[in-house]
Amino acid sequence: MGDAVPDLSSIEITEPGDIPEGVPFEDAMSELEDCVDRLESGDAGLDEALRLFRRGAALQAWCEARLEAIRAQVEDLTGGEPGEGVGS
């Protein structure tokens, strides 16, 4: 059994799942670490392992997307031109 069973590709690992918009980055990160720890402990049954993996993968993708989305932007509150070069 196993590989012969269809529906192998239904796991969406980039789905943000139910990670709310305003969740702090560090909270998502520590939940991800928690998922990994529990998965690695080997105590989780198969259903639980799958759940942990999906949740972890979603958290990981979410964290990475958050980091990727951050862009450099230097603004001068006191009236300088916006987007002025860094390190001037």
Binding site: M1, L39, F53, E64, L67, E68, A72, D76, L77, G80
Partner: protein, 429 residues
């Protein structure tokens, strides 16, 4: 009493003032005075300066009006509010203003010892209020949404902080320029902190200034600045001066770096390290899932192969087992996908790092780790070590179903430490 005053002679103002002038000049002498400059103003051409000198020591409230010519300020020293100075003082009675005023000459910064003592007194007083307590320090955001920067326009500190943020994690920086020394410093720094505190894009503020003389840094030990740091609801990180310059604003700040660059390090995490951490977590996640899938498959194979569990219990046992097998397969597949297809930027990042340091191919290493985990999961010796046995029929083929075994067939059972022969007594009922 007033009535007793002789009215025989009425004095002109000039006569009274002249008398006062005489009294002052005959009964006072030139002295050396020390105090804090307050309320500094200058004439239109900048040649004449007026200010008050105050006794900055705790519990002393004496103050006196002073004036000086700009040329009386010792070369290289700029007079500013809050500056501690010492000077040659000569009291005068001003005819035009009708008041006592002290003419100062040879104005120079007060001695360091005096300034340090003044700061120490202030530190004790504000410390007694709890302004420097560790317990009230606010935590810095793990990942800032935007960094506020209070610094002088065009300063080296500004360049240092921006360069460090650019290098560690390019993100939004909102700069509020302020004079970082001199007369305007206290007011402008206070205003800048408040402005950034009110800016919703900013969730941590750096106050950055390079090292300087004790006099230059004096505004950062000003009580107004100290209170502005504590009044901010956004955490404030001080990067003022270079060790061991420590100002009271540094003590009041929620965190402080020894330099502006060190302050930036405290505020902004290292993007490459965070991505590496995330990548490592992703690989561990996938590895854990692969092992869970492998573990499940081994157990299922062994259970499913047991005689007596196959045919009569199709509905009860087999279908759940298959469903579990499917779960395991999906888990394994997803885990492999998760490892073999790393994030786009991560790959580029890793490639760059490899070019830079000539490190081993970590992508290959990751795949190797997964293959190793998969191999380990498939190792038939592992179930044997746990007490399971492999069953082969008389042709040497692995027996996976009890249904294929006629009574009387000779089987070989492979245990961890060797083979034994066995015979099927009776077929599955």
């Amino acid at each position: 009493m007033v009535d007793d005053v002789a009215r025989a002679r009425v004095f002109e103002v000039d006569e009274v003032v002249s008398a006062l002038e005489r009294v002052i000049s005959e009964n006072t002498r030139t002295v050396y005075i020390r105090g804090e400059v307050v309320n500094l103003r200058s004439g239109r051409d900048g040649r004449l300066l007026w200010f008050r000198l105050e006794d900055p020591r705790e519990g002393h409230d004496a103050r006196v009006d002073c004036f000086a010519y700009a040329t009386d300020v010792e070369h290289g020293h700029e007079l500013a509010d809050g500056a501690m100075v010492q000077a040659v003082a000569r009291p005068e009675f001003s005819r035009r203003d009708g008041r006592l005023i002290i003419r100062l000459r040879r104005i120079e910064p007060a001695g360091e010892g005096e300034i340090l003592r003044m700061i120490e007194e202030r530190r004790r007083r504000l410390g007694a209020e709890g302004l420097f307590d560790e317990a009230i320090k606010r935590p810095l955001p793990f990942l800032p949404t935007g960094v506020g920067l209070v610094t002088a326009a065009g300063s080296a500190a500004r360049a240092d902080v921006l360069m460090r943020i650019e290098g560690r994690f390019p993100m939004r920086v909102v700069v509020a320029h302020a004079a970082m020394q001199g007369a305007a410093c206290v007011a402008e720094v206070t205003r800048a902190i408040a402005a950034l505190d009110a800016d919703p894009r900013v969730d941590v503020i750096i106050v950055a200034r390079g090292g300087g003389s004790l006099q230059d840094l004096l505004p950062f030990s000003d009580e107004t600045v100290v209170r502005a740091v504590r009044a901010s609801s956004t955490p404030v990180v001080a990067g003022i001066g270079h060790d061991p310059d420590t100002t009271l604003a540094c003590l009041a700040a929620d965190a402080r770096g020894a330099t502006p660059t060190a302050a930036a390090d405290l505020v902004v995490p290292d993007r490459a390290l965070m991505l590496e951490d995330l990548d490592a977590l992703r690989r561990r996640l996938a590895g854990g899932a692969l092992r869970a899938a492998g573990r499940a498959r081994r157990e299922l194979d062994l259970i499913a192969a047991r005689p007596g569990l196959v045919r009569p219990h199709d509905a009860v046992v087999r279908r759940p087992l298959e469903a579990a097998g499917a779960l395991g397969a999906r888990l394994g597949r997803a885990a492999r996908d998760a490892v073999v297809m790393p994030g786009r930027d991560l790959r580029a990042l890793r490639a760059r790092r490899m070019l830079a340091i000539g490190a081993a191919d970590t992508g290959s290493a990751a795949r190797l780790a997964v293959h190793t985990a998969r191999l380990a999961a498939c190792d038939p010796a592992r179930p044997l070590a746990e007490g399971f046995a492999l069953v082969r029929d008389d042709a040497g083929a692995l027996v996976q179903s009890a249904g294929s075994l006629p009574a009387g067939m000779l089987l070989s059972l492979q245990f961890r430490d060797g083979l034994v022969a066995a015979r099927v007594e009776e077929e599955d009922a």
